[in-house]
Amino acid sequence: MAESPARRSGVPIEVRGLRKRYRSTPAVDDLSFTVEPGKVTGFVGPNGAGKSTTMRIILGLDAPDAGTALVGGRPYRTLERPLRTVGALLDASAVHPGRSARNHLRWLAHSNAIPRRRVDEVLDLAGLASVGRRAVGGFSLGMRQRLGIAAALLGDPAVVIFDEPVNGLDLEGIQWIRGLLRSLAGDGRAVLVSSHLMSELQDSADHLLVIGRGRLLADTSVRDLVATASGDRVAVRTGMRVEAMTTLAGAGAPTAITDDETVTVSGLPVERVVDLLTRGGVSFTGVSAHRATLEEAYMELTRDAVEFSSGDDGRPGR
């Protein structure tokens, strides 16, 4: 694929002080972050956290109440042929059911002066070559996701934005998306992909933006996020709970009684716990290490931010 100038110019996505309210509900509240080239940046948060709103603002579709969103250093709406700089998948069902996949891509290609052969290239890439002439109305949600991704890649963009691309995909499709995200980042593109489930992103994202109630909760690598979570815990099964607690607390580690027979200690490796208990003469029947998952770290971060049980972004009628 040809090297596009935007790939070399400035920060692919730069969001600064973004605010947006819908009537009285703040959707995005003082949001600032950047998305780097050559990486997959996961954009995670519970439903209604403001992910889709942020993406729409980046794409110049919604106007922010305050703040700026720049793509390659420029506001999206000043881009001359935006599809050649940014490819986006917002909503896979946003296609007319009576139109064929090919014709859907053709009108998009015309609007940005993209050569016709790209239509067949991206259909092929998305695995839709054999159904390109069929009306989209007969497509499964997974096929529509693939069509949306094909549309996003039509202009060979340096920046790729996918909103919940895994929705509706089968296992094979999920595998395909993961590989695609990796390869897009491998080409040097900036990839911003949102999900409300951390598990969908943990294997493919290099960097994470965690958002809740419109605010940025974490802007970090996957490794650091796990580390900053409540940390590793060690559970000790013992009949001498009070003694065990005293001994471990003496080493400066937070401890807690979990149940009749278990004491949990944080921040100490298993070997050190065994060593301390042995030296203190506390008998125990078992020690088990518990490593925090990315999922737990995420749950902890967003515990206070879960606000909506349904809906995606707090905006009615999406």
Partner: protein
């Protein structure tokens, strides 16, 4: 990276959208089919009436030709001068229709004619030129039924003169018989050496809209008569005795297209009163060189009772509905599914996108309208001819006649403007149901409501709503000198065919401007 893709790219993009949804293509193709079928239906079920007369003017058009004429022959070049001392219109409107007050209103529709005539014999429909005083319209030089040149705004008493030089007829007017003003000159082709010249009086029927019970409107007609006094008619060169202004040598006739067979000679001169048509005016009365003349009738083009082209194009309404539906869906379907975001992400210039959409649907509607109109007229013409629609009452026409071209191109333009209006309304409302219902209501409701409203309100309702656009389909010519009532009941919305198009064009432009403003301002 080169600049923004040209507007042509955007047009191509929107064109691809429009033609790639099968249902829309079917609906769009249904538009001309419906129009043609409805036109054929109308043509197949229509029949011409049987008109009282079929007198044709020199150019083959259907004409009225009835007036009181005191005349004598003029051979070669010469001139005729007379003083019109007075001219008085008599008109009675029954009390039931508004009486004297209404009579003054009706008077304004009457072009009573008092003046000098030069005519190729007495046959109704024969060539002529005439200079005359028309109360309310000044001095006029009229010729061959459709020609009308306005002169000074003078009334009786006044001097008039008509001069023949070969085929050129010049008219003059004077207040004192000494200083003359030229009214104009007309050329009458194929005039024989000897023509009849002399004073004449014509007094057309007055018309008024009369409101009846339950708000129904009716056009009422009131016959009038005009009594005129002429003084000192003078013919040059003097031709025979008495030409200086006496009854001798002047002959008194009523030319009447409704009473006389086209080629029969007029009543013999000085014939007994019982030989004249019963409804004729009293004979001319001379008092020395003073001539008192009472006239009925009119000298004017007669409009065809039915506008065949407009009737054939009635089906445009059906085609319009299909086009309106597609135009609305063309934009609201994008809002419904959120595809508008894909569109605006691909082309952030939202105003340009909307204008490209409008151009694509407008051009499509225009082409469909052209095809529909041309095919309809080509297919209905032979049917109408077979049904007896014949000249002179119904002049034959071809597609290339300017008025027919205007009707076809105008119909296409109305379809285009209505499609643009529907599209813009769709962009404003973002809901198909609301936009389609609004446009259809604006098209259908005025026709239904107009009858229920007081006549003036009803007329303006139709004049200011989109159906006014269909006045471009009028092909029966209208003449200032032959005023016709323009009211919804007789299918007339505007005298000027393009005036109605201007109305729908304003709808299209205003709604597009509003849509562009809103779409730029709103979140997508």
């Amino acid at each position: 990276m080169s600049g923004r893709p040209g507007f042509g790219r955007l047009l191509l993009s929107e064109l691809t959208k429009l033609y790639s949804v099968r249902r829309w293509s079917i609906a769009l193709l249904a538009a001309p089919v419906l129009t043609v079928l409805a036109g054929l239906l109308v043509a197949a079920s229509s029949a011409p009436g049987s008109p009282d007369t079929t007198v044709a003017g020199p150019d083959g058009g259907w004409v009225r030709d009835r007036f009181h004429f005191v005349h004598r022959p003029l051979t070669g070049d010469g001139s005729l001068t007379v003083r019109v001392a007075s001219s008085a219109l008599e008109l009675t409107v029954p009390e039931a229709d508004g009486g004297a007050a209404r009579a003054r209103e009706v008077e304004r529709t009457v072009w009573a004619k008092t003046g000098l005539m030069l005519k190729d014999g007495l046959r109704p429909g024969a060539r002529y030129a005439a200079v005359m005083l028309v109360p309310g319209h000044g001095v006029r030089l009229q010729s061959n039924f459709t020609g009308d040149i306005a002169g000074p705004a003078a009334g009786a008493p006044a001097w008039l003169r008509l001069t023949r030089t070969g085929s050129a007829i010049a008219a003059f007017q004077s207040t004192d018989g000494t200083a003359w003003t030229r009214v104009g000159t007309v050329t009458i082709a194929d005039l024989p050496p000897t023509v009849e010249v002399g004073p004449f009086v014509a007094s057309p029927t007055g018309t008024a809209v009369v409101q009846r019970q339950f708000g129904s409107l009716r056009e009422s007609r009131y016959p009038t008569s005009t009594r005129a006094v002429f003084e000192r008619p003078a013919l040059e060169p003097v031709a025979g005795p008495g030409s200086g202004g006496s009854p001798d040598g002047w002959r008194d006739d009523e030319v009447n297209d409704e009473a006389t067979a086209p080629d029969a000679p007029g009543p013999p001169p000085n014939a007994p009163a019982d030989k004249r048509p019963q409804s004729g005016p009293p004979p001319a009365a001379w008092t020395g060189d003073r001539l008192t003349l009472i006239g009925f009738g009119d000298i004017a083009p007669r409009p065809a009772p039915q506008d065949l082209v407009k009737n054939s194009l009635t089906g445009t309404y059906a085609g319009l509905l299909a086009i309106v539906a597609v135009a609305v869906l063309f934009v609201t379907s994008e809002y419904r599914r959120g595809m508008i975001r894909t569109t605006f992400a691909a082309s952030p210039g939202r105003g340009r996108v909307l204008i490209a959409k409008a151009a694509v649907i407008g051009a499509t509607a225009f082409v469909l309208g052209l095809v529909a109109g041309a095919v309809t007229l080509l297919l209905t013409r032979p049917i109408l001819l077979r049904h007896g629609y014949a000249a002179p009452v119904y002049p034959d026409w071809t597609l290339t006649d300017p008025v027919v071209l205007r009707a076809v191109a105008g119909t296409a333009a109305v379809l285009a403007a209505t499609a643009v209006f529907a599209l813009a309304l769709g962009a404003v409302l973002r809901r198909a149901a609301g936009a389609v219902a609004t446009v259809l209501m604006l098209i259908v409701l005025p026709q239904l409501l107009a009858g229920a409203l007081p006549s003036t309100a009803g007329q303006w309702l139709i004049r200011l709503t989109p159906p006014a656009g269909f006045s471009v389909q009028q092909t029966v010519p209208r003449y200032e000198q032959a005023p016709q009532l323009c009211m919804p009941e007789n299918g007339c919305v505007y005298d000027q065919p393009w005036a109605g198009f201007a109305v729908i064009a304003v709808y299209a432009l205003a709604s597009t401007a509003a849509a562009v403003w809103l779409v730029r301002r709103r979140d997508a």
